[in-house]
Symmetry: C2
Subunit: 433 residues, 2 copies
């Protein structure tokens, strides 16, 4: 084994950056054994040179000038853990153009500019790895890439946002109200002061776009993801879910039939027996269906200093091994297929629907004939009298139907005389494939 | 990228061997991209040269003479998928002694002779990989090894036998009897004609020994595993489990506190909220707790041609990459720590106990004072009158206690006058860590 040294430039020295440096320092010899070369963090980009940094770095290692990293020919790999979007993207792009490999934990940049950066990486025969951008504690991107070597993935479902999963778990299991649980999550550090990106489903949308792009080798943008969040979910909805054998989760779904795909994030009823149903609190999980291997699921923490830093270091080891093998910039990771999105008449799903109707003779018959007209057949029906028998609360779960038929029937229902109000409507998953 | 060719010798050409060859043939260019060299199966060892083999191999490729593989200096890696124990071990050992790397799917050999073979591999600077020996569809050994580079694993729990999980699922969910479900499993090919190794827990014991050895870097033999199977589980036990919020699973457990470990396989009550509880039918799952990353779980098929062959090919790719890197025989995979097993007074667990007692005034008080005497405190108690009030069926779940105290109290209970019979006793897991 040679005593070659491989140099790394680290962009950002916050929580994750510190974790990365700690792991590299503490596991020097193990890493050298895996790679066949020594790993050294040559430079760390920081915004404030004067800040006290402890023993982990010395004065010569830190810089506030990005060119000290981008222009240093000895630096093989740039690790981006600074966060933000435009500047991070700019640095990563320049690094790739200068022939440096890049490891990043930045889901925002990868969801928005991933295809552009992967193309640049490919043009320059460089690696661009981003395991930590999806679910820090779960080696899911690596598993997908390895699986792809001998399989065809047809479905990915992920609980990929810890904040919303925490909120839904507490609402479901403890019967608590959305606002109250959100405040608690903020106090515990599971939710940001401005929780919009989480609770509206945008964070999950970025991650499912990344997963779908990789899994289907097709360039899926954030704009291709149909998104709805958890802010309108009520405790009544959750109670009925439970009663019908489902757990409500915010699920990112990417599925492919023939060569057309659908990518979405929405509150989804998952049967109690499905492995995703028991993913609780702030945990993440990604379920993958491949034609050869069948169903697999990977469960773990979605974020946190050490899980995220561990994922970054795993990517770094991979890049350095590839460099020594001379196989960087493997084209398998850039999208190979043209994007073909399913139209609403091609998307098939089950739906949960809760409506208030007038409790008159013939109400139910007129509703069912309406569903029938749109080819929407029903799997489960629950009817509860409300308001001293003047109203009926009707809860339905459909069989699998096209999104178009379902949307059409929803519109008709809203105009129907016997229907007082459509209270809520969610997607539902069936039993496992 | 060079046009180097790397030669493989395949031992065995049954279901898995065919799958391995198919994957290598169908994914030639993808594999070459990953490794930076071409992979060729130079020789296949079969027992009958005259058998019709289809188009997958030509006449020159097959042999019934092991020396055509072991003595061929061009063959870098031997892939053992022939099954059996002594001969497979012998061939693997000779291959390693001749400086060839080995990939195997053989859990029996690895559980019985793993430490010896790993030592030989280490002495000869060879790789010995065995991902497919534990749960074919789950890349669990790789995940443990990668995790170990920057984490310390303290607990592994696995549902690692598909047959018993299928039987327990059907018994629990459909209220069916053991014998009937076993016959069905045999008809479906999930259970062997002689199911002993599965239902007595031996197959799971082999796998948890392998997982524990790797996870704790400590040489755990099959003899170190305390084993009990599922043959005595009754439908009453399962009904009470359900009622108390648990699901019964055959769980392999390896845990470590300080530097001492416990390894066991037994029917175990898992709380409904634990991710292992919803692993149903013939599926496998392995739950790992690491100090840095926290809780992770990996779920997927435990066996099957393509899942197993996929795992074998992943290992093969890793070996070939390592060879090109010059980092084969990485010492991190042979056990680094001395074996230290926990004694019964150091093993801590919860237990479920079902007893029949005389329904007399003072019975319960005398039982609780007995538990008290042995420091066994109770978390859940359920009492049901039986036999027109003459008997009481008492179901208890303890808090965490030492195995020694629990075994002692069990012995005392059996001798106690008010106790008619100890009907059943199982280990129970708490909520997640």
């Amino acid at each position: 084994m040679g005593q070659q040294v491989m140099n790394v430039g680290l962009l950002g020295f916050g929580t994750v950056g510190t974790g990365v440096l700690e792991i590299i320092e503490q596991h020097q010899s193990k890493l050298a054994h895996q790679i066949g070369a020594e790993v050294r963090v040559k430079k760390v980009l920081v915004s404030n040179l004067d800040k006290e940094r402890g023993d982990l770095v010395n004065k010569d290692q830190i810089t506030d000038n990005i060119d000290d990293i981008l222009q240093d020919d000895e630096i093989d790999v740039v690790v981006e853990v600074m966060g933000g979007i435009e500047q991070a993207r700019d640095y990563m792009k320049q690094a790739l153009l200068n022939g440096k490999h890049v490891v990043t934990a930045n889901k925002d940049v990868m969801a928005l500019y991933g295809s552009e950066l992967l193309q640049t990486a490919n043009d320059k025969h460089c690696d661009l790895f981003y395991e930590a951008s999806v679910a820090g504690g779960i080696p899911i991107l690596r598993t997908i890439v390895e699986g792809l070597a001998s399989d065809r993935i047809t479905k990915i479902m992920g609980i990929v946002n810890g904040t919303t999963n925490y909120i839904l778990t507490k609402m479901s299991k403890e019967g608590r109200l959305y606002d109250e649980v959100l405040q608690e999550a903020q106090a515990l550090g599971y939710a940001e002061a401005d929780p919009t990106a989480d609770v509206e489903g945008l964070d999950a949308a970025r991650k499912i776009a990344i997963l779908g792009t990789l899994g289907f080798s097709m360039n899926l943008d954030l704009d291709d993801v149909s998104v709805s969040g958890i802010t309108d979910i009520t405790s009544q909805d959750l109670a009925y879910c439970q009663q019908l054998g489902y757990t409500m989760k915010l699920v990112g779904i990417a599925n492919r039939i023939d060569d057309k795909v659908e990518v979405s994030v929405q509150p989804t009823l998952v049967p109690h027996s499905h492995p995703l149903a028991s993913v609780d609190d702030e945990f993440n999980a990604v379920y993958v269906y491949g034609e050869a291997v069948g169903e697999t699921m990977f469960y773990g923490p979605g974020a946190g200093k050490l899980p995220t830093a561990t994922a970054v270091v795993s990517d770094l080891v991979e890049v350095l091994k590839n460099k020594r093998l001379g196989v960087n910039g493997n084209s398998a990771i850039i999208p190979q297929h043209d994007k073909k999105l399913k139209t609403p008449d091609e998307i098939r799903a089950k739906y949960f629907l809760r409506i208030h109707a007038k409790d008159l003779p013939g109400t139910f018959a007129s509703l069912t004939s309406l569903f029938n007209e749109y080819n929407v057949s029903l799997e489960k029906i629950l009817q509860v009298p409300l308001n001293e028998g003047k109203l009926a609360e009707i809860i339905l779960v459909t069989h699998e139907v096209t999104k178009k038929d379902y949307d059409d029937v929803l519109k008709r229902l809203e105009a129907e005389d016997v229907v007082v109000e459509v209270k809520s409507s969610y997607r539902a998953e069936g039993e496992m494939n």
